[in-house]
């Protein structure tokens, strides 16, 4: 009985994995086929294969600069977020102050706002701060994250108070407590948030398109679109696939690396 269930589960997981992998497999196959083949939808074409599409895509834009800008943007956002969400998360989880519930509810309300609604007000603020058309300008609106604060609050709440009480008996200040006791224990939450944040900002198109104009500040998604999207004609799928592959590759790589980290952080944190 148990073995049968395991088989069913294995089949289910395999099916889901297959669904997930097909687009990536197609992207990889299509990117290796030069020209505009007529059986472009095929996953197992006969060939010919080559790296022409990658060469074309690489030539179509300034990929090194785009990589650098995207890394700076995502890294910058995450670095600031990790500080703000742990501090705010701690405040909501452990401190008691007047209007706490109301403030927290107001924080969560942010999650309901659709981002395009804020484009014009955010741009106006950037212009008045002289951050329009800068990488810092793309990052600024994300320095605080309602989702992150929520996640960290829940994570801190799940940590037994015994750890903190033990530390306080030893004379630890709040700062020491957060840094040396709570944050290491909250690592799974931080890692989970980091993955969500990096993916979201790496893939984001509309806001970078709005906030930045100079080619020197361009990020990958907007750069990719310069040669991948066409309103009135069809696409050279091979080049689009190659470009998309180059944009997605670092993220895919990071996921493969992070996956282990993600799992192990659960094991070592002492929380199950």
């Amino acid at each position: 009985m148990k073995a049968e269930w395991r088989l069913v589960r294995l089949l289910g997981v395999s099916a889901a994995a297959l669904l997930w992998v097909v687009p990536f497999a197609w992207m990889a196959v299509a990117s290796l086929r030069p020209g505009v083949p007529t059986d472009i939808a095929s996953l197992t074409p006969a060939g010919p294969f080559g790296l022409d599409n990658f060469a074309m895509a690489w030539k179509s834009g300034d990929f090194p600069l785009w990589y650098l800008n995207t890394l700076a943007m995502c890294g910058g956002i995450l670095a600031v977020q990790l500080v703000t969400i742990s501090m705010a998360g701690y405040a909501f989880a452990r401190l008691r102050f007047r209007g706490q519930e109301l403030l927290f509810a107001a924080f969560l309300l942010q999650l309901l706002l659709i981002p395009p609604l804020l484009i014009v007000p955010n741009l106006a603020i950037l212009v008045s701060l002289h951050l329009y058309d800068s990488l810092l300008g793309i990052m600024a609106p994300y320095f605080a994250s309602a989702f992150g604060v929520f996640l960290m609050r829940q994570t801190f709440r799940a940590i037994p108070r015994d750890y903190e009480e033990a530390a306080m008996l030893e004379g630890a200040s709040v700062a020491v407590l957060i840094r040396h006791v709570l944050l290491p224990l909250a690592r799974p939450g931080l890692v989970a948030f980091a993955i969500v944040s990096l993916t979201a900002h790496w893939n984001e198109f509309l806001w970078p398109l709005m906030a930045v104009s100079s080619p020197r500040n361009q990020v990958l998604t907007v750069g990719l679109a310069t040669f991948a999207s066409g309103a009135e004609a069809g696409s050279a799928w091979g080049i689009v696939a190659a470009g998309t592959f180059m944009v997605a590759a670092p993220l895919l790589l990071m996921f493969l690396l992070f996956q282990r980290r993600f799992v192990s952080s659960f094991v070592f944190s002492g929380i199950k």
Binding site: D39, G76, T226, S229, G230
Partner: protein
Amino acid sequence: MNSITRRTALGAAIAVPAAAALARAAQAAAPTEIELFFPVPVQGMLANKMKELIDRFNSGHEGVKVTAVYTGSYDDTNLKTRAAIKAGKPPGAVIMSANFVREYVINDEVEPFDPIIEKAGGTAAAYIDAFWPALKPNAVIDGKVFGIPFQNSTPLLYYNVEAFTEAGLNPDRPPASWSEWITAAKALTKVSGGQTERWGLMFPATYDYCGWITSGLVMANGGQYFNHDYGGEVFYDAPSTLGALTLVDKMVNQFKVIPPGVSDANACTSAFFAGRTAMMVLSTGSLSFVRDNMKLAYKVAFLPRSVRNAVPIGGASLILPKGNTPERQAAAWTLITWLTSPEIAGEWSRFTGYFAPRKAAYDLPEMKKYLDDHPDAKVALDQLRYAVPWFDTYNTVAVRKAMEDQVQAILSAKVTPAEAIATAQKRADGLLRPYVEQTALKSLG
């Protein structure tokens, strides 16, 4: 990138205004710097070509320095331009989808070109007469010039020559009327074992394209589709529209010569290149893309007629957003006159497939040679005689969608044409109401 801390953020916030002040002091000697927002309407190397053109412009004009800023699709460009104007950072010039110009005028977000043209010693009327007449209604609004046409297109019928021969049709006599179109599409559709191997016809029915082609069918059916002179009226609930939607409905759901559901431009070209559709309706702006990638023999023809030959204009015009200083406006004007000059307009046309909006471009020897070498481009140019203005109303995108949603529902056999036009009209009227109440139905006291 852990280096971006609060301190560096603070540092930047202080340093940037200081640098800006320095820049202002140095400006007297420096060239006027402006941005040109441009969408990439057709895929491929066009973004690079545009940057190359702008580099050439910059090296030939000392007083002006232009940065070409890629701004996504037509709709994204609209969004970014609008946001930049509202945030107080308007670009010097924008290549804007020609049917959005009216809305910028209604919202008072663009400058008319008339004063600049007059300052240069001409009249606005004479200036715009140098362009093809069909382009005028989308550029001249309420008697003033608000758009200078840059790249323009019409929908065109592309067809596979071998498929025509195989189906017993004469490839030199493409379908000219709707009844011939239906006959041809039926003959060209190849079904084997219950599976359609080759469709008779495909056209893109995603947003924007859908409305454009629908309006073309309505116009070919004798209709106006919308009030060309006033942004508050559309004629969705009209016999000419009903007839056009009935054609689509029959071709998809009764004759089964068009694949059901919504295809995008990529699906259409992929199917056309693979011989899986014998005909497709696509923009003349795709001529170069199709020419470069279609391995099978193909030809192009006018969009078939019902009552008359008629096609909507498409493409983009250069506009001058409000909020720029006179120096920046003058710099933008220098750029615009250069971009729309016969030589550059012709070069861009040969590179993309769009027709050059300025008539004089076709007097150039290289343009004559191009038309001789490429009969497909000649057909596209000839069809211009039958061009009518492009759909532009108050709240264009939403009003356009009111009809597009219904056409997409017909393609999926969810509504009948009669239901579709009634629903579309009702929704459009609701969307147009605020504007109508401020204009045509304004309270007279």
